[in-house]
């Protein structure tokens, strides 16, 4: 009985990995045979970014059960700290690939750290209140990055929140983060292959975390705070852990994002609340707590607007509608009843077919 269950969860995760690898192989073949438009191939890395974001947010929303609307903020932290690292270490580590690798680690660590710093005060709240506060923190992060000036010269790093001139850089100094103009000249190190590898690492971390002692504790906190406490689970610790891991992985997505652009700026479009909500839509559409669903919905919802370019202006409208419909379908009692009835019918049909 027990072995069967282990097999079931292992099989489910194997299907997820296999799916990602299959898509990778197909896309690689299409790329090599030239069967892909340049528009689509330009979308491949962002696709990986969104998948990682969706899967990592699912840890907070689905597994921990807390609504967070600040995921783009953590992505922003990862993107800027990663790109900053790449620029600063340009001489110290000449190899672009190696620098990118370390940049990912730095981005993940910084975003995770921000997750802890923000999580400590914020995770005392629940539900809508938490959502609002995380939304605010996401915006704060974006706005701080917009007024941040960092330069480097022979004497070391200089910081300012006023303008590039007040950095007072010495001879041969270079402005690395130039306020609203962001970071320019990050090498294009991000490729589809690296993106897929990062997706698989993200999936590996989250799936294995969920099916472990820690994951059980996190889900226990989600299902019943008081009962979790009564069996000796440290609620604060596990909430914070899940939030920080989720933020750290968003940071990884950010680094990948940053290394796909020549100019990295913190605009409302890429790191604002619209982005956070879009990631949440991926999670809700894919099914809260359903990791594979997040992957699929992130891919579909990213590709769809590109495929329906004529409708591009209605994109946000479409998202809103999809979100509302899915919420009704997922949570309204009538819809649940209907789904259960359909499942029963389907199962009965299957049994009949077998007999």
């Amino acid at each position: 009985m027990d072995r069967k269950k282990m097999k079931k969860s292992t099989r489910s995760s194997l299907i997820t990995y296999a799916m990602v690898i299959a898509v990778y192989i197909i896309v690689e073949i299409m790329l090599n045979t030239g069967n892909i438009t340049s528009l689509m191939s330009g979308l491949l890395v962002p696709l990986c970014v969104y998948v990682i974001l969706a899967v990592s947010l699912n840890l907070t929303v689905g597994i921990l059960g807390e609504l967070s609307l600040g995921h783009a903020g953590f992505m922003c932290v990862g993107a800027f700290s990663g790109a900053f690292f790449t620029k600063v270490m340009a001489q110290a580590i000449p190899s672009v690939g190696l620098r990118f690798f370390f940049a990912i680690l730095v981005g993940a660590a910084m975003a995770g750290l921000f997750g802890i710093i923000i999580g400590v005060p914020v995770l005392r709240l629940k539900g809508d209140y938490l959502a609002i506060v995380t939304l605010a923190f996401g915006e704060i992060i974006k706005n701080i990055v917009n007024v941040l000036y960092v330069g480097k010269d022979s004497t070391g790093l200089h910081f300012s929140t006023k303008d590039a001139v007040s950095l007072k850089l010495g001879e041969g100094g270079e402005v690395i983060i130039n306020g609203a103009q962001g970071i320019t000249g990050t090498p294009h190190a991000a490729t589809f292959t690296i993106g897929i590898i990062l997706i698989i690492i993200t999936l590996f971390i989250i799936i294995n975390l969920v099916n472990s002692r820690t994951g059980r504790a996190i889900m226990a906190v989600r299902d019943n705070l008081i009962a979790a406490e009564s069996v000796g689970i440290n609620i604060t610790q596990y909430k914070l852990l899940a939030f920080a891991i989720s933020a750290g992985l968003a940071g990884v997505a950010g680094v990948l994002y940053a290394h796909n652009l020549s100019t990295l700026t913190a605009l409302p479009k890429n790191f604002g609340y619209n982005m956070s909500i879009m990631i949440l839509v991926f999670v809700v559409l894919g099914g809260i707590g359903n990791i594979r669903g997040s992957v699929i919905s992130a891919v579909i919802l990213t590709l769809l607007p590109e495929l329906l370019r004529g409708l591009n202006n209605y994109r946000m409208l479409m998202y809103a509608i999809v979100l509302i419909v899915m919420m009704i379908f997922n949570s309204s009692p009538k819809a649940i009843e209907f789904r259960a009835r359909m499942m029963e019918k389907f199962n009965g049909f299957k049994k009949k077919g077998a007999a």
Binding site: F204, R216, D223, N224, S230, G232
Partner: protein
């Protein structure tokens, strides 16, 4: 040394003295009942004993160790486990996982070992599964280990809650209305189970119950609460024949 010794426990909410000078001494291995009319302060007492509320004054000692005012998780680690009046299971987890959450502090491996599936993960998980299945077997739930907890019938959910409480390896088990909502057959079965738990695990059990058949059937001693006060205390038969207790329950 008494397993649980509570002296002059007090708590008030606003002007209401919910629990007033509560005293109780429970010896190891005793099956002790806490009864009283609705609103008498029974569940509040449980919440004080498990650290959900901090007492205004008074002391609680478990097996000679002072646990007054400690956090819920520390009190659990010290050896107090409980169930709830309104069932609080981890609804979306499997029956087996519910018990494994209870084993959390006694079977350990780190998060990193869990993510990277190091040898200790497999070793500890195997031990956890074994222990959890043993516990489920005691309650006849081993056949349903894969069920989602919320899909269990009511009586079995109550049993699972007891199994989960026991999985934290407590010295003292607090049961808050274990028979609530059960039919007479289920109650009779539950009485057997509670007695069995006491005998098999050498557990000390304090239970709140309204079902007098269960109380008089298995409790050796009783404390009766009324409006936060201890009304009567002692051997079950004596307490139940106490005129004050009868009038508190039936009115004058």
């Amino acid at each position: 040394m008494a397993m649980l010794e509570v002296k002059d426990l007090n708590i008030s909410f606003g002007g209401l003295k919910a629990v007033d000078r509560f005293n109780i001494t429970i010896e190891k291995g005793e099956l002790y009942g806490l009864i009283g009319p609705n609103g008498a302060g029974k569940t509040t007492t449980f919440n004080l004993l498990t650290g959900v509320y901090k007492p205004d004054s008074g002391s609680i000692s478990l097996n000679g160790k002072d646990i007054t005012g400690k956090r819920t998780i520390d009190i659990n680690q010290a050896g107090v486990a409980r169930t709830f009046q309104n069932i609080r299971l981890f609804k979306n987890l499997s029956v087996l996982d519910n018990v494994k959450v209870g084993l959390h502090n006694n079977y350990k491996y780190s998060t990193i070992e869990g993510i990277f599936r190091m040898p200790r993960y497999y070793k500890v998980e195997k031990e956890m599964n074994k222990r959890a299945m043993e516990l489920l077997k005691v309650f006849g739930l081993d056949g349903e280990n894969n069920f989602k907890a919320s899909n269990l019938p009511y009586g079995k959910q109550r049993k699972l809650e007891i199994a989960r409480a026991l999985s934290t390896n407590p010295m003292l088990l607090l049961l808050d209305e274990p028979a609530a909502g059960m039919n007479p057959n289920e109650t009779a079965e539950l009485m057997e189970t509670i007695r069995f738990v006491r005998d098999k695990f050498g557990m000390t059990i304090l239970l709140i119950e309204h079902d007098m058949k269960l109380v008089s059937g298995i409790c050796e001693k009783l404390t009766v609460l009324n409006f936060g006060h201890v009304l009567a205390q002692g051997k079950t038969t004596e307490v139940l024949n106490n005129p004050q207790v009868i009038s508190a329950y039936l009115g004058d």
